[in-house]
Structure formats: structure tokens, C-alpha cells
Amino acid sequence: MKLIHQTQQLFFRGMLPVFVAAGVVSFFTLRWVFNHETDEKLLGVQTEIESYIQANDTLPVFFQTVFDRCYAEPMPDGYEKNIQGQTFSDTMLFNKFENEMEPFRQLRFPVMIRGQSWLFSVSTSAVEHHDLVLILSVLLATIFALLLLVMLWVNQVVSRKVWQPFFETLEKMRRFRLADTTSLTLTPSYVTEIQELNTTLENLAQQVRQDYHTVKKFTENASHELQTPLAVIQSKVEIMLQDDTLSEAQAKQINIIGQSTRRMTRLNQSLLLLSKIENHQFLARKAVALKPLLEKRLMWLEDFIAEKRLKLQTELVEKTLETDPFLAETLITNLLTNAVKHNIRNGILQVVLNESRLMVKNSALLPESSVTDLTARFTRGNPKSEGVGLGLAIIIEICEQQGFGLEMGFVNGVWSAEVLFKK
């Protein structure tokens, strides 16, 4: 769940009960206030009646209206004990004009006239008050609802604004690449916590980058150091093979040492190259014509193509690309040599270059391993091949660094790799 939604939800959950409670309390308070006022009025009527009776010692004549009613009756039997002083109550009385029952507030009290006990009932219509309470309640509820909405909106706007630097930081971290050279600079924030987060992240990024480069440098140095012993082994193999007293079996063994050394040398070279590419050592920007590069490399491969009897199809247009010349050549070399190396006898080799893409297709015998497995470093496609599988890793790294898209797939015995010049 998004941060903003989370705060909104919590805010909503917190505010709703408060607003509901406030509504309920207001409702009852209003009702109490209105009842109280009505009761005061009824008490006033009572005082008037009592003072009239005191002066005249007779029942007053009541003027009845639809809203105010007053009548007296002899005290019903056994009722007197229940009434002490006065009793307020809510009751329903008939309104003949409206032809319906309406709510009334009623005050009943006993009065003695000439020794006889009378029960007085004074009622006043509560219908207006009821309506008023209803209207006020609806009004209040509407105001509360609007208030809630406005507060939610304000909260959202404020959250967005307050969290903006955080989101920027997040976005920058998402785009953070270990191999990039530009140092990580996060937008300063006036929010202390976010500023602290930014500082921590910046330091962390710097530290991680430093470690990364140390490791890379180490790889490079190690690869470099390896070259000398490899050269020594290679030269010794050469010397030993010249010995005429060697048996055929011995010569073969020595030759295998030589072949393995050669493989190690190439592996080492590839690792060195890969780490150099990852270290951004090839940053030139030149217009590179791709067609001549492809033709040159295909020409170079002609012996291998002929040996495997590959069916070569090319569709090449003149296309120049703004990129590092060395990387462009390395990319093409690796694509084409891979396509030849992992090809099968009488297989197809298709090279298509147009404005938007370079596509290389080749027949291949692939194990069950998926495309993702193949792209992992050191995975070999053909178990018979000596290839160390770094070629694909180099292709992927170059595409990533130069901002090319790379699509690979294996369908019906045909492996295809497509380099999209614009992602």
C-alpha cells in the first residue's frame, strides 16, 4: 500500500469515530436544549394557572390551539400517589388539521380547587423542535462529512508535499547503478528525518561504490598478473613438443595442457575485458559504421562458416551509430563468433542490420537450459564447445552500458539475438 493511502486510511479511521461521536453528542445536546426550553415554557403556564386558581379559586377557561393544549380532569383514582409535584413527558396527540398524530411535550401537575384534587395537563407541540433537530442534524452531518473530505484532501496535499523529497530519494535510489561514475546526490530536504536518510544513503552509496571499485581493480590486477605465468606455461608446452624423443601419448598430453592454457588465457582476457567495460573504460563517442564491421568479421569467419557448411544470409543497410568504436566492434565480434561457434553443421546463419536493430540468428543445439540460464555468466550453450560463455555476458554488458535493448530467444532450434539501438 502506498504511503499516502496508508496515512489517508489511518486518518480516515481516526477521524470517523470522532465525527460520529460529535454528531451523536450534538444531537442529544440539541434535543436537551429544546426540551429544556419547552419545559420552561410549560412551567410558566403552570405558574399562570396556579396563580389564577389562587386568585379566583375556580377552574380557568382554557383556550385551545392546535399547538398548545391545556385541560384539567379530576384526579384519577390512585393516581395522586404517583404524581409528586410535576411530571414531564413526551407524548403523541392528534392534530385534526393535519389529520395525524404529532409529538407533544406534556407537563402534568396536581392542583387543589375547593378541596378537590385536579390533574392538569399542559401540552405544547414539539413538532417544530423535532424538525429543527432533524434539520440541524442533517446540516451538522453534512458539514462533518464535508469537513472530513476537505481534511482528507488537505492531508493528501500536505503529505505529498512533505514526502516529495522522500519520493525523489526513492526514485534516485531506484536508478542507482553500482557501476555508474556519477556520485549519488540527493535533493536536500528541510525534513530532518529525510535529510538524515539522504545523508545515510549518500554515505552508503559512496562506501559501496568504493568497495566495488576496489574489487574491480583487484580483478583487473589479478587478470594482469595471471598473464605472465600463462605465457610461461604456453612457452614450455611449445618447447616440450619439439622434443623428438616424446612418445605420441606424451605429446598428446602436453598438447592438452597447451589447449587448456589457451582456454584459461582467453577466459582471463574475457574477464579483464568485462571488468574494463564495467569500469567504464570505453567512453568514446564516434559515428561507427556498422555494415563494414559486420562484413569484415564475416569475412574473417569465412573459414569457419565454410567448414561447418553454414547457410549464410545477410541483409545489411548502411547504418552508423554514435557509440564507442571498440565496444561496437567487440559487440559484433561476440555476436557473430557466438553464432558461428554454437552453430551446427549445415545450420543457418542470418545477419540482418536495419535502421533500428541488428539481428543475428543461428541454428543451435541447446540443452534444456532456458534463455535465462544461458545469459548467466559462464554458462555454456553447447557441452562440446570449449567456449567459456563469457561472450554472452560481454554482449549483455555492452548493450546495457550503451543503452541498447537486447532480446534473445530460442525457437524451433534457432537461437536469435537482437540488439535494439533505441531501447
Binding site: A231, V232, N255
Partner: protein
């Protein structure tokens, strides 16, 4: 023919020297900068093989720079670690004639030295003779019993490589690298060499040449007239 080998890795120097001595060269060695510099400046050699990284306060490039001031015509081949493109350019700018990256095949170095010496001493105009075979490197032409042989460029390069390293076992990988350059290390399967050898051998024998190309099974080939 006198060669100065400047190489700080002793075992590699021993191998190179052994291989070259077999080819009839006189090889002197220097393993650090002061020795290398002194020898290069004082004595005259037909060819210098120079490693760039040296202990002792200077590089192989410094040796070449000073040597070329004294003897601009000196033949120099640089041997150095791979991928140092700047070194290669600097070296060639200083007047080095050739550049080999480590690790290299010894027959390749041998062939480069021969080609270089031929260019230096005879302006490339000396023929290479081997029994009934005569090669004129300047015109890239081959004669068997004085009859011109029509070879493809690759067959010609192959023959020259075999001739330069006669009586030596040549591994398939080393032949491939000679024909295709450093990039040959991208490939694994060098069966195509067999067809080139087959064609070359056929063309030679069609002209009455003896069969000098011996297959060393599983390893490579040897060009020899010895039993």
C-alpha cells in the same frame, strides 16, 4: 644472427632463447632495465626482442627510445601483455617494427623475426629456398622446380609459416593464430586448417614436390625433409 632478448620473467626468457637457438640464432638475455639498456646501447644486434614492463627503473619503451637515437635501423619486436593498446601505439611510434602480445606461440615469434630480418637485410628481396621450393616474399610468389604455383593468400601465409618453422612441430592453434591474428582465440574448432593444409600439399605435390608436410596426429603439423 645475434638477438638480444629483454624479458624479466626468467622461465619465459629461457623458453624463448631455447626455441630461437634451435633455429640457429645467437641469443643474449637481459632481465632488467639497466642491463637491457647497457647491452642495447653498447652492442649491435640483428634483432631486439623487448618486453615493456621491466624492473630497475625504466621500461622497454625507454630502451627502444635510446636505441633508436643511436641506431635508427635496429630491428625491434615488442612483446608485452595484452590489451595495452597505448603501449602498442607508443612502441610502434618509437620505431619498433612489430608487436606480439603475451602469451604468444614461439613459432609465431620465430616467423616474425625471420620476416623482419629478411626485410632489414635484403629489402625483402631475398628468396626463401627449401629443396625444390623457392619463395619470393616481395612478390608473394612460390615456385616448385622453378614453375610458378598458384596459391590462395591463406595457403601462401601457411607455407611461409611452415617454412619459417621447418622441423618444428606446429600446433593447430598456433597456425590458426598466424592465419587469423589474435582474434583466433575467440574460436575453438580449427578443423578448417586441415583443408588448407590438404589443398597446399596437393598443389605442391601436383608440381612434383616431395611431401614435406607431416601430420602430427591430434596436435598439428611439421614441415620437414628429415625422416
Amino acid at each position: 644472427m645475434k638477438i638480444l632478448l629483454i624479458e624479466d620473467e626468467p622461465e619465459l626468457a629461457v623458453s624463448i632463447a631455447d626455441f630461437l637457438k634451435k633455429g640457429g640464432y645467437l641469443v643474449e638475455r637481459a632481465s632488467d632495465f639497466p642491463t637491457a639498456h647497457e647491452k642495447a646501447v653498447i652492442y649491435e644486434y640483428d634483432c631486439l626482442i623487448v618486453d615493456i614492463n621491466l624492473p630497475g627503473g625504466g621500461t622497454g619503451l625507454d630502451v627502444i627510445r635510446d636505441l633508436k637515437k643511436l641506431r635508427p635501423e635496429a630491428a625491434v619486436i615488442i612483446i608485452s601483455a595484452r590489451n595495452a593498446i597505448e603501449d602498442r601505439i607508443t612502441g610502434l611510434d618509437l620505431g619498433a617494427d612489430d608487436y606480439l602480445t603475451k602469451p604468444f606461440y614461439l613459432p609465431e615469434l620465430n616467423a616474425r623475426i625471420k620476416a623482419l630480418l629478411r626485410r632489414r637485410h635484403f629489402g625483402g628481396n631475398s628468396d626463401i629456398l627449401f629443396n625444390e621450393i623457392r619463395v619470393n616474399p616481395a612478390q608473394r610468389s612460390v615456385f616448385v622446380h622453378e614453375m610458378l604455383l598458384d596459391l590462395t593468400p591463406k595457403e601462401y601465409d601457411l607455407l611461409l609459416y611452415l617454412l619459417a618453422n621447418q622441423h618444428h612441430v606446429l600446433r593447430r592453434e598456433s597456425i590458426a593464430e598466424h592465419l587469423l591474428g589474435d582474434d583466433a582465440d575467440q574460436m575453438d574448432d580449427f578443423n578448417f586448417i586441415y583443408s588448407h593444409i590438404k589443398n597446399l600439399r596437393k598443389k605442391l605435390m601436383d608440381r612434383g614436390c616431395l611431401d614435406y608436410v607431416k601430420a602430427v596426429y591430434g596436435i598439428g603439423y611439421k614441415f620437414t625433409d628429415k625422416k
